[in-house]
Amino acid sequence: MGTMDQNTIPQDAILLTILAMGAVTFLPRLLPLLLLNRGKASGSAMPPLVESWLRHVPVAVLAAMLLPSIVVPNGQLDLAPDNLYLWAIIPTLLTAWKTRSLVGSVLAGMATVAIGRLVLG
C-alpha cells in the first residue's frame, strides 16, 4: 500500500467515488426492507434459491477477502513461518470463537502482530 500519487486520482473524483460507494451500499440495505414490507405476505417474498444464495454471500465474501490478505500479502503466495499474519490468525480465531467479541478479536490479532514484530525486530 503506497502513498497516493496526487496525480492519479483527482480530489473531486474521490468524492464522487465515495458518493457512488454510498449508493451501492445503501440500496442493498434499503430495498429488501421496503419491498418485503409492501405486501401483506408474512415471511419471505424472495425465491427460495435467491434467499439461499444470499444466505451464503456473507461467509463467502468474508473468506474471499480474508484468505488472500493473509497468504498472498505481496502478490506472491507466502506460507513461510515468518509470515506473522499466519500466526496472528490463531489468537484472533480463538478469541472470536470463545468470546464472540469483535473488538477483543481485533485487539488479540493486532497485539500478536505487534509483539511478533517487536520480538523479531
Partner: protein, 246 residues
C-alpha cells in the same frame, strides 16, 4: 425525545437515549478502535481528513472502507472500487430482509433511516433484541445513531493519530482488517456447510489472486463460492428426499 413508553408518567423508565446507549455500548467499544485503525490507514494512503471522515458518514461500512483506502492508494479505477464495495456490502441485503418482518408498522422514512445505519453489528444487536421485544423505535434509532457516531469519531481520531504515529506497522494496525474479517466470519458461521463454503471460497480467491486477477478475485470467488453452496444444499436436499421416499 418522546417515545411510546416514556410518554407515560412514570419516572422509573429510562429515557430512550439511555436504553440505546446501554444496547450500543458493545458496538461503540468496537467501532471506536476499528474506526481509529481505518482512519490511520486512510491517512497513510493519502486520503484527506474530509474524505476519510466523509466516507464514514456516507458509506458507513467498515470492511469496504478499509479496502477502498488501499484501492485509492493503488490508483485503481473508480468503477472497480464501486463494484468491489457493492459486492462486499451485498451481505446487508440478507440482514435487511431478515429485519423486514419485525418492522411492518414502520413508515417509509423510518425504514429508510434504519436501513442507512444497518451494519453487521447493529443487525446483531437488533436481531437479538427483536427476538423477545417489540421494537421500540426511539431506542432503535439511538442504537444506530450512537453506533455511527462512534464509527465517525473513531475515524476522525485515526486521521489525527495517523499524523502523530509515523508508522502504523509496529502497532499491528495493518492487521485490524484481516482480524475484523476473521471475527465476522466466526460470528457468521453456523454449520458445516458454511465452513465448507468459507474454505472453498478462500482457496478460490487465493488461486485467482495468484493468477493475477487481483481485485476481481474477491468478486469471482464469492459468486462461485455462494453458488457452490446453493448447489450443495439442493443436492443434499434431493438426496435426502429420495432416501426418505424409498
Amino acid at each position: 425525545m418522546p417515545t411510546e413508553s416514556s410518554t407515560a408518567q412514570t419516572t422509573r423508565v429510562q429515557p430512550a437515549w439511555q436504553r440505546g446507549l446501554t444496547q450500543a455500548t458493545p458496538i461503540i467499544l468496537g467501532y471506536v478502535p476499528i474506526g481509529f485503525a481505518y482512519g490511520v490507514m486512510a491517512q497513510k494512503s493519502g486520503l484527506s481528513t474530509a474524505h476519510t471522515v466523509g466516507m464514514s458518514l456516507i458509506v458507513y461500512a467498515g470492511a469496504s472502507q478499509f479496502i477502498a483506502t488501499g484501492l485509492f492508494a493503488a490508483g485503481i479505477p473508480a468503477l472497480s472500487i464501486v463494484i468491489t464495495t457493492f459486492v462486499v456490502n451485498l451481505r446487508h441485503m440478507l440482514m435487511s430482509a431478515a429485519m423486514a418482518p419485525h418492522l411492518k408498522t414502520w413508515t417509509k422514512p423510518q425504514l429508510t433511516a434504519f436501513a442507512y445505519e444497518l451494519t453487521d453489528e447493529t443487525f446483531a444487536v437488533h436481531a437479538a433484541r427483536f427476538a423477545g421485544h417489540k421494537p421500540d423505535r426511539a431506542e432503535v434509532f439511538w442504537i444506530n445513531a450512537l453506533a455511527q457516531m462512534a464509527w465517525v469519531t473513531g475515524s476522525y481520531l485515526g486521521t489525527v493519530g495517523g499524523q502523530v504515529v509515523p508508522d502504523p506497522k509496529p502497532w499491528g494496525l495493518d492487521f485490524a482488517l484481516p482480524a475484523l474479517f476473521v471475527a465476522l466470519l466466526v460470528l457468521q458461521i453456523r454449520d458445516r456447510l458454511q465452513i465448507g463454503i468459507a474454505l472453498a471460497t478462500g482457496v478460490l480467491a487465493v488461486t485467482f489472486t495468484i493468477w493475477g486477477l487481483d481485485r476481481w478475485a474477491v468478486i469471482l470467488a464469492t459468486l462461485v463460492g455462494a453458488t457452490l453452496g446453493v448447489i450443495w444444499e439442493q443436492w443434499t436436499k434431493t438426496r435426502s428426499h429420495k432416501t426418505r421416499s424409498y
